[in-house]
Symmetry: C2
């Protein structure tokens, strides 16, 4: 099944890059069947109509895919390396995530933030991962919200913060997930959250959770946390 992404349901044409991919890599031409999603749950079965470099299509069938009953919302302090933030987005999208918010914490280096989390690139990577993993909802990605304001504003979900106080044992995120309910998980930066940031989260109804016995890099923690939540929702 050849799945393409066209966010605008009124444009019946693949963008330049996907048009090239469809002809050069997939060797598709006029008359071939493709599937197009708008990243908002619409899945259309279409027939290609290639004219020169333009890959237009006609919609044969259209259906609306339901959202998952539970939302996975990841709130992450970006790492200092662009490629690590980018693969986080790719992997969480493949595994399943509704929202990714890269927020600014006390230990976040704000000088480089626009370079290391480039929203245009991140959205392109998420779209590619959505198609590759045959999903029909593009995660919503935001960059640059302040941690404090953000944490105070989280509603309607199980609120968790990945943080293990010294010498304390806390429950694994997997055990805290509530079947069928949304989950919001906060992932700290290199250098971790400040104590002030942790108390703020606790004051606003977040519970501390562990991501397992080994110390994980920020991007690994994000992917492992996202995967644990998906596992709990899909298996329990």
């Amino acid at each position: 099944m050849h799945l393409f992404y066209q966010p605008d349901s009124k444009i019946f044409e693949l963008d330049e890059e996907e048009a090239r991919h469809s002809s050069k890599v997939l060797r598709l031409g006029s008359g071939d069947i493709i599937y197009v999603t708008n990243g908002k749950g619409t899945l259309q079965k279409c027939v290609l109509n290639v004219q020169g470099r333009k890959a237009g299509y006609e919609v044969l069938e259209s259906q609306q895919i339901e959202r998952r009953p539970f939302a996975v919302n990841m709130v992450i302090a970006p790492t200092r390396k662009a490629e690590r933030n980018e693969w986080m987005v790719e992997k969480m999208t493949e595994i399943g995530v509704e929202r990714i918010d890269f927020v600014i914490t006390e230990h976040t280096n704000t000088d480089t933030i626009n370079r290391v989390v480039n929203l245009t690139r991140l959205n392109r990577i998420a779209a590619a991962a959505m198609k590759q993993s045959q999903q029909h909802y593009l995660p919503i990605i935001t960059v640059g919200n302040k941690y404090e304001a953000f944490v105070k504003d989280v509603k309607d979900s199980v609120k968790l913060i990945a943080y293990v106080p010294d010498h304390n044992r806390v429950e694994h995120v997997f055990s805290k997930v509530k079947k069928g309910q949304g989950t919001t998980l906060l992932i700290g930066p290199e250098g971790d959250f400040s104590e002030k940031e942790v108390s703020l989260a606790l004051d606003h109804g977040f519970s501390t959770v562990s991501l397992g016995p080994t110390r994980l890099r920020t991007e690994t923690a994000a992917v492992a946390g996202c995967h644990a939540i998906n596992l709990a929702q899909n298996i329990l």
Copy 2:
């Protein structure tokens, strides 16, 4: 805790790269306390003795850390991109893995195998990830074994193959793990295992397992599978 890696327990000196790191990045000097592991479970508390570029050390205490009671053995058909194989190794090491075997399957491109899975680089990445995640065992990594021979030879562990036959529902790897027992999980290449390869595994006592509802890239499947096994062992 500053953890370093010196595989040879008879050499009481950090290698060049770690010596540079200890002085230039960590700003450590003579008299400072460091910890050294040999990647085989030995953890030594040492005092640094810097002479020029050489970072020697004297062992104050030495202890042997026990292996985990369960081994996680990942058998993977490498992807065509070196960086994806490398991050698989980094992430699985952070999360917890005893063995990573990159094997050659029917759909593996053998022309590029030595370039895309460079054992020297992979071992260096695993060592860095072991230190970063504060572990004391370096995973054993092999490259280039033939899938058939390998699969016939797997012993003493729960044998699983990540493969979902069309229109069939199979159990998630998480549900198949046996607490405290070793697990061997086979992960297929882009283009998946051939039917012949799947039957061979089944003939040798492997069970098919799912890695969840979304379609994952090889490297994502490996990390998700490794994480699911660790979760099952640590939480159940």
